[in-house]
Point group: C2
Chain length 484, copies 2
């Protein structure tokens, strides 16, 4: 392996030669510490490692992509990054939507996909200890025989648990089970001084000092490098039903939602899809749901509800209750989907992002607002979209007030103004910029504009505590400098 | 009102006069900023404000007890505390068990019991916004007509929500509903620079910057002064049953617990009481549970289970399933308590602390260990207790692994050695010093000894970010200096 001339030229300046030597030395140090297998650079870089799923393309070539196999490897990489003052970009499996894991020019991408061991599963305590590179799919497989599962379901099973922790991923089952942070009991993380921090414990409660676990969850890889995760598992329910409910308007859907949440039915999934998104995701999946043509023709939005229970009898009674409830609330019909198609519909819904991407969406947003504010918020957004000649379509975790919209507007300036309005109104409605995707690079402008100065000051001071030299995932979240 | 000579003499030293002037000025400033009604000092101090429920008595006389009525009052007090460098001790309703809210000599106790407004209750969003001084009892009353409740139940309904937030209170319903932090969506808090920080939002998920809400929850009043709390509410269930299950050994109880948690029955309460604790709490409450004499005579420990469901039919089916399950696990019998006595038993259980206090317990501990480690941990503790000629009795949130033990040993040195072993083994078993009471003043020695240096370093740096002069609730948690 050699230092590509590409870097040296990228770093051009009066100090070119000096930098060139440093870069050569840094790579040499990485190779010496980790060995050839774990370091890719120059021509050996794999393009798959150089992006996430953000719709915005700002390609940058890193000095190296490194693959630690252990906490010791992570410590060695941190030491080299510090010695040579090279930015470190942690990366899970690259399924993030906010540009949080994209390389920095001349930086080191630390990819965790070689650290995916399941260290322990305790079926009595409902606790698993795993490495951060494990994907949700792999974790689900590892748990399949235990009767337990990790119930967070962000809709991309190829995402890594470490990535989920860094964005505090939510997803479809959050309405019942909560988001990632509610399932993380403890972490091992390498700090930028090379020390190893252990937070939390495999217990369900603790009141023993500041909760550093919860501080690191959702910190988008800017505070510490997570090397081990202790998660809480939940029992799988034996019985489940997927119920599809067509409505004549989106308002009908969003208005019925609070009453379903209040009913005590505890739905595991409570999703809305507008008719366009539903038709796109089902046709992409080749899925026919059997909605009668006269119903389909009147439908503008669908509610998808999953109920899970311990007994078949309880499921039957809950489904019956739900069906009556939604019909009274103006549903056009109620379809209890056969097992196979229920599951396939949820999987098709997972793919909504890909549908939007393929359709050429210019932006994906995931604003969250109070549940009851969804109807008014969406109606404002649709009016605004029309005023800005912008097209929006979407779906969302409506039980949580988490709205997913694809925004189609090629004109950058017009789109930016529309998005600014959309975020401002979301925050004004009591919500937040991102319910689950994170801020990363893509949402920095509204995040920094709409977060109070006191909060930013405290957050930046906390960042300084963990990473005084600013080497860990710079240019994201709080760090708005232009990308080098 | 006047400055009591008591303070001046307490502050004696070569600087006596200077301090005396300062103290006079500080009191004058408080009186000027807040008015007479909100400031008590000297002879007007109310002894009720000068302690919490810690069993350790280190009485200290503060300069003043102040009662802010608003965020503006809190800011004014902070400015005065800073100008005069006087320690501030926030206080809820003084039900804490760890000495976290006891006065500092010459300090200011900030009592929040005049800030208990319910600012809003949103029945669609399941969100309430309240002031920190509201007690759990008052909050429950305010919610009673809504069909919703705040499901955290630490067993002391006169505790304030603000106090609960500062210790991340848990309690009996945590096994189903989680602890305080899982129900706090946002905070308003006054920082020690006098600015007002708002964290979070009335939404169920967010991935928009570091989670400062979760950092402040559980920080024992050492980071910021919480002035407003946004909490998540849950639907009340229509049907419930309290089930009492006697077992011949405590091991039987703790061994059956994981299987009940795994069953999907989702008990709201899963408590054990050893026979001594059960007999004390029921006799104190004048409660006769109807356990047959021949069963009672064989019983060494009880499991108390509360099931809550949406329908009567489901409750019946769940109770039947549970009864079969515990009988197979070796229960001596199963009693489904009539509505009234079920409720009274839970209320009696709440009083376990008072029973222990009245019985002369020297220490109350609430170590948490992994659920499945409870049987071995308790058995170790009972052996140790015998070796140290110490008597222990207790009960606990066994569904969470949270063990409450009263420790009776008058010899300080012997008790300290026993407690050191007890905490060390709890942490070694994968647990934590305190599940829900907090560290405060009373648990500092084991906390600081058993927490890793990296963690303490980060926690202390975070404390410095929020409170660089160390005026906010000093001498607790991370600050081990001897009390002045």
């Amino acid at each position: 392996m050699r230092v590509s001339r590409h870097y040296a030229s990228n770093l051009g300046s009066a100090k070119g030669n000096y930098r060139h030597v440093l870069v050569t030395d840094a790579l040499a140090a990485l190779l010496q510490a980790l060995g050839d297998e774990k370091v890719r650079s120059g021509d050996s870089l794999n393009p798959d490692d150089l992006h996430d799923e953000s719709l915005h393309h700002e390609p940058r070539i890193p000095l190296a992509v490194v693959r630690p196999h252990s906490t010791a490897d992570v410590i060695a990489i941190v030491e080299i990054a510090k010695n040579f003052e090279i930015p470190l970009t942690p990366r899970g499996s690259g399924t993030g939507l906010s540009g949080g894991a994209k390389p920095i020019t001349g930086g080191i991408v630390m990819s965790f996909d070689a650290m995916k061991a399941v260290k322990s599963i305790d079926v009595n305590d409902h606790v698993a200890v795993v490495e951060p590179g494990i994907t949700l799919h792999e974790l689900d497989d590892a748990l399949s025989a235990t009767g337990l599962h990790y119930p967070v379901y962000p809709g991309e099973m190829s995402g890594s648990l470490g990535g989920n922790i860094n964005t505090n991923a939510g997803g479809m089952r959050a309405v019942r089970h909560g988001v990632t942070r509610q399932h993380v009991l403890g972490l091992e993380a390498v700090l930028m001084d090379g020390s190893v921090l252990r937070t939390g414990a495999p217990v369900m409660k603790s009141s023993s000092g500041y909760d550093l676990t919860q501080l690191i969850v959702g910190s988008e890889g800017t505070l510490a490098l997570v090397t081990e995760i202790t998660i809480r598992l939940s029992p799988r329910f034996a019985h489940s039903a997927t119920i599809l409910v067509p409505f004549a308007t989106l308002d009908h859907v969003t208005e019925v939602v609070p009453s379903i949440v209040a009913s005590g039915l505890q739905p595991s999934i409570l999703e809305y899809l507008d008719v366009l998104t539903m038709s796109s995701v089902t046709s992409r999946a080749g899925l026919e749901l059997g909605v009668e043509p006269e119903v389909a023709s009147q439908t503008l939005a669908y509610l998808v509800i999953v109920l899970e229970t311990r007994t078949a009898r309880q499921l039957e009674s809950d489904v019956e209750y739900l069906a009556e409830h939604v019909m009274q609330a103006g549903a056009l019909d109620v379809y209890v989907l056969p097992d196979g198609s229920g599951q396939r519909l949820i999987e098709a819904r997972e793919q909504a992002f890909w549908v939007a991407k393929e359709a050429g969406a210019h932006e994906i947003i995931d604003v969250v607002v109070p549940r009851s504010a969804v109807p008014r918020y969406l109606s404002e957004i649709f009016s605004l979209a029309s005023a800005y000649e912008t097209f929006v379509a979407g779906c969302g975790h409506v039980g949580d007030g988490n709205v997913h919209l694809s925004v189609y507007q090629a004109d950058d300036e017009k789109r930016d103004r529309f998005l600014h309005e959309l975020f401002t109104r979301g925050v004004a409605a009591g919500g937040a910029i991102s319910g689950e995707h994170g801020i990363g690079r893509d949402k920095q402008v509204p995040f920094l504009a709409l977060t109070a100065p006191e909060s930013l000051r405290i957050q930046r001071s906390i960042k300084d505590v963990f990473d005084p030299r600013g080497l860990l995932n710079p240019y994201r979240l709080l760090d708005e400098r232009p990308l080098p």
